[in-house]
């Protein structure tokens, strides 16, 4: 504080003016959203996609959901045997798989807990709805998200490859 009053006030003016000039020359830090979009990172937890063929309706995701926002209904049915001549197998057929995104808190426990790799995260985020009831995605809608699921990212140097997920 050896110097008199002026410098601090002038420095502040300098910062704002500097930013003004930077915005003019280098462009703004913001993105004009509907016209240009930022791509979320690969791991971004945007929406959960369902690979229906892998789901065995084991209910693990339902039971581990902290919010109780996943609903599964299924029934058993007979499927043709794997090997010729074997007995017909009993498989679980998925009737209903709903995720209520109005309740979901995007913790990712269901995706992690799924033993059969039926659930995936997709970074897609543009699915807001004017009506809250439309946020209940059924299994066909969850299946559509599968197209947007990216490959898992490369890991940083020094990471140990894990067996699964």
């Amino acid at each position: 504080m050896a110097k008199p009053k002026v410098p601090g006030l002038l420095k502040g003016l300098g910062v704002t003016f500097g930013t003004l000039m930077r915005t003019v020359t280098e462009g703004a830090a913001t993105v004009q959203y509907p016209h240009e979009k930022e791509t979320p990172p690969i791991r971004a937890r945007g929406v959960i996609a369902l690979h229906e063929g892998n789901c065995t309706s084991c209910m693990l995701c339902v039971r581990s959901c902290p919010d109780w926002c996943i609903y599964i209904e299924g029934h058993k049915e007979l499927a043709p045997p794997r090997r010729a001549g074997g007995a017909p197998r009993k498989v679980n057929k998925l009737d209903r798989f709903d995720i209520d995104y109005a309740l979901c808190m995007y913790c990712g426990i269901c995706v992690e807990v799924c033993p059969f790799d039926a659930l995936f995260w997709s970074p897609e985020y543009e699915y807001s709805e004017p009506r809250i009831s439309d946020l209940l995605h059924d299994k066909s809608k969850l299946g559509e998200w599968m197209e947007t699921v990216p490959e898992a990212p490369e890991l940083e140097a020094g990471a140990e490859k894990k067996g699964k997920k």
Partner: protein, 220 residues
């Protein structure tokens, strides 16, 4: 880099923690007959349970030993919840639950226990002090004269557990409406969100028509 102690069952030889031993020794010496029980977990923490009558004076004594930093005050309801995790099937009879009250470290005799943590400023030498709350009067001396910061913590504890603090200047509700009835953090206070809606995990995959008892017969 402290390695966390293994749980007591796995311990083959108890590791020593001389710093905490001297600290606990000093506390026990100063408190004298006011200590009901104490526990030292090496490289972890110290627990002391003091008698209800000496609650305020014990805290004062411990503070005078240098534990001048008031970390938190709360309570524990040792009764297991009669509602479980709210994952019961409402159509089935309620499952049997073990409702016996088992206190944690340093034991105790009552359902509710107060818990205070004091720390020596500038270090991590802390002590967890517990005290029984009499089941009938549910009243303990207030700590506000000792630590001004206990004010809000005691209000919260009173509101959530229904434990009265004699000598507290301003025992009002902290979070809830002033006319709220019930003590939400008591285990017998139901968590309504988990009761009004049935757990989606209750339902299971419908079996094939005609075979009910073959759940585990076919498993590839």
């Amino acid at each position: 880099m402290g390695v966390f102690p293994l749980s007591p069952a796995d311990t083959t030889e108890a590791p020593r923690d001389e710093r905490r031993e001297t600290e606990l020794g000093a506390i026990l010496g100063a408190l004298g007959g006011n200590v009901a029980d104490s526990l030292l977990k090496p490289n972890d923490d110290i627990w002391v349970r003091v008698t209800t009558e000496s609650w305020r004076s014990s805290i004062e004594t411990i503070r005078s030993l240098g534990y001048a930093y008031f970390c938190f005050l709360s309570a524990i309801d040792w009764m297991p919840s009669p509602f479980g995790k709210g994952e019961n099937d409402p159509t089935q009879p309620a499952p049997e639950r073990d409702n016996s009250i088992v206190q944690g470290y340093t034991g105790g005799a009552t359902r509710f226990q107060l818990l205070v943590r004091l720390v020596m400023p500038g270090s991590t030498s802390g002590v967890n002090i517990k005290c029984d709350v009499p089941d009938d009067s549910m009243t303990v001396e207030s700590l506000v004269p000792v630590f001004a910061g206990a004010n809000w913590h005691e209000r919260e504890t009173w509101e959530m557990f229904g434990i009265n603090f004699a000598g507290h200047p301003d025992l009002r509700h902290m979070y809830l409406p002033q006319d709220f009835e019930g003590f939400p953090l008591r285990k017998d206070f139901p968590l309504l969100a988990r009761i009004v809606k049935p757990w989606p995990g209750i339902v299971d995959v419908e079996p094939l028509p005609g075979d009910e008892n073959e759940e585990e017969s076919e498993q590839s």
